[in-house]
């Protein structure tokens, strides 16, 4: 089998990359490989609204957002295979398996990694206590309620205030469950402020910051959890323990990009994002392999995933069609300065950007009334005031090509407190 571009994963990133590549050059043969029984990825279970304001200028639910992209596939001649698991990736070939064709190989011009991310499960969190039934990741509960139609429990405590946890606090409440508490280890929420308002405040669900679960009780099924306040080193403070009766504990404690295939292929991984190191074209350390969406870095907003993925799709199309792609060797490195955990991209090749380049980043802490600074070879070029910067909300700076042309070799993005 042969395709010009093979896309691994048919979620929001894969769909947007495929559509953009096909629109850029309709003659390209594009194949999406999806392990689930339908396209759309996690959007299928994100039945809440708030998607698409940037991309479609209207407020859509997750399934509607996915459908907007899926509807374009037939006309653009984009092919896809469902129930297909990719086993191995190299720059010019992808090995996969499914029930119809067994093990097969696709020779290709470029690969786009769009595998998304995975939730951190109980085993990765080291929560003490017994191991009864009733402990779920928030995303698992979301799938059970929204797609399978099963309620995972009646009395719920949620650990972690990531967006999925907040969304599930509301969802479980709407379906008749009692959500007794949301506990967050950090002194700030990991989710979007709007979700605190519309998912917790609307329903009077308490959010305990600087709190964690220190014990899970119950022999067959969860009967209660013990929560406690933590100090600045995240250690439980004696005397603050509180036992909460419940039958379900949901975990919303972070997402990890799913990069087993990338690592096996030898792609360089950024330890801060757990995703590939990429340049302005979303190309990884291996030529011809691109990455976008949550496999690259975890996003809060699907609209940004679509935007980045479109760029990755177009880059892959250019790579397949042009032998001179990326041959301009003037490379500028972007460094994460004070307060900034990481930036995407990590490198900019001047020859491959149009008028400007969007650099996205996350902060390592909460900053109020501070500034986002961009330094070109140590000299301040951008200085923008921000009312609030939190690790839960991705930030961005847009750098102009004309400014970049003046930079010699290094750009630093930093947060300065006033």
């Amino acid at each position: 089998m042969r395709s010009d571009i093979v896309i691994i994963g048919g979620g929001p990133a894969g769909l947007a990359a495929a559509v953009a590549a096909a629109k850029y050059d309709p003659s390209l043969d594009i194949m999406i490989l999806e392990r689930d029984a339908e396209l759309g990825g996690i959007l299928n279970q994100c039945i809440h609204n708030g998607f698409g304001l940037h991309t479609f200028n209207e407020e859509l639910t997750g399934p509607e957002y996915a459908e907007r992209f899926e509807a374009q596939l037939p006309d653009l001649g984009i092919k896809f295979m469902l129930n297909t698991m990719v086993l191995d990736v190299a720059s010019s070939s992808v090995t996969a398996v499914n029930s119809d064709q067994g093990l097969f190989n696709i020779e290709c011009g470029a690969v786009i990694l769009c595998m998304g991310c995975r939730e951190r499960p109980r085993g990765a969190l080291n929560i003490p206590g017994l191991r009864p039934a009733g402990v779920f990741t928030a995303g698992t509960a979301q799938r059970l309620v929204n797609i399978e139609g099963y309620m995972p429990g009646k009395e719920v405590v949620i650990l972690g205030s990531g967006d999925i946890g907040l969304i599930m606090a509301r969802r479980m409440t709407l379906e008749g469950a009692k959500v007794k508490a949301v506990c967050e280890l950090m002194p700030y929420s990991g989710g979007l402020k709007r979700n605190i308002v519309q998912c917790l405040d609307d329903f009077g669900i308490p959010l305990f910051l600087s709190h964690t679960v220190i014990d899970i009780k119950g022999k067959e099924r969860v009967t209660s959890v013990v929560i406690a306040e933590v100090d600045s080193n995240s250690k439980p403070i004696p005397g603050t323990e509180e036992e909460i009766t419940c039958d379900t504990l949901l975990l919303s404690c972070g997402l990890i990009p799913e990069n087993e295939l990338s690592r096996a292929a030898g792609i360089k991984i950024n330890p801060s994002t757990n995703g590939p190191v990429v340049n302005e074209s979303f190309e990884t350390s291996i030529k011809g392999i691109f990455a976008c969406g949550n496999v690259l870095h975890v996003h809060d907003l699907v609209d940004y995933v679509s935007e980045e993925s479109a760029r990755a799709g177009i880059s892959a199309a250019k790579y397949v069609k042009s032998s001179s792609f990326g041959e301009d060797c003037s490379v500028i490195e972007i460094k994460a300065g004070t307060g900034v955990r990481y930036t995407v991209p990590s490198f900019i090749r001047l020859g491959e950007i149009d008028d400007n380049v969007t650099v996205r980043f996350r902060s390592g802490n909460v900053y109020k009334n501070s500034y986002v600074d961009v330094l070109f070879d140590g000299e301040q070029k951008y200085h923008r005031r921000k009312q609030i910067i939190t690790p839960g909300e991705m930030e961005q700076v847009i750098l102009k090509k004309e400014d970049l042309e003046k930079a010699a070799g290094e750009i630093t993005v930093a947060i300065t407190e006033s």
Binding site: G50, H54, E59, P63, E67, E175, R194, V197, D300, L301
Partner: protein
């Protein structure tokens, strides 16, 4: 003068909006970065509304349940009545995204529409 601090829920930007009120009259709306924010703030301090998104039972389809939403936001205090009405209903496949599943949900005059397509078995 009463000052109300709101977080706009229209989009994930979550703008912090300050509404200054004199009794029930709105004197000023500040902090929003788009028109939606202004509308949200004015509605939120007078008659708050929310879009309800949930699922509905399906018969005769390739799946037993699909996602749906109220086509317009409904009054906040009607959310649970809307949920109860949707949970009592069943829709017959095939259903296309946008199809009206309930005409007037729980007396709100707002229809419930499908947000996913489901084929017949």
């Amino acid at each position: 003068m009463e000052i109300r601090e709101l977080t706009c829920i229209n989009c994930p930007m979550g703008c912090r909006i300050t509404v200054t009120m004199d009794g029930s009259a709105i004197i000023s709306v500040e902090g929003n970065t788009c028109k939606r924010g202004d509308t949200y703030a004015r509605t939120e301090v007078t008659a708050p509304v929310r879009t309800v998104t949930t699922t509905i039972k399906v018969t005769g389809g390739v799946v037993d349940r699909i996602s749906c939403k109220t086509k317009e936001p409904v009054p906040k205090d009607k959310i649970f009545e809307v949920m109860a009405a949707i949970n009592k209903s069943t829709s017959l496949a095939p259903i296309k995204t946008g199809d009206v599943l309930i005409e007037d949900c729980a007396g709100t005059k707002v229809p419930v529409v499908a947000t996913k397509t489901v084929d017949k078995v």
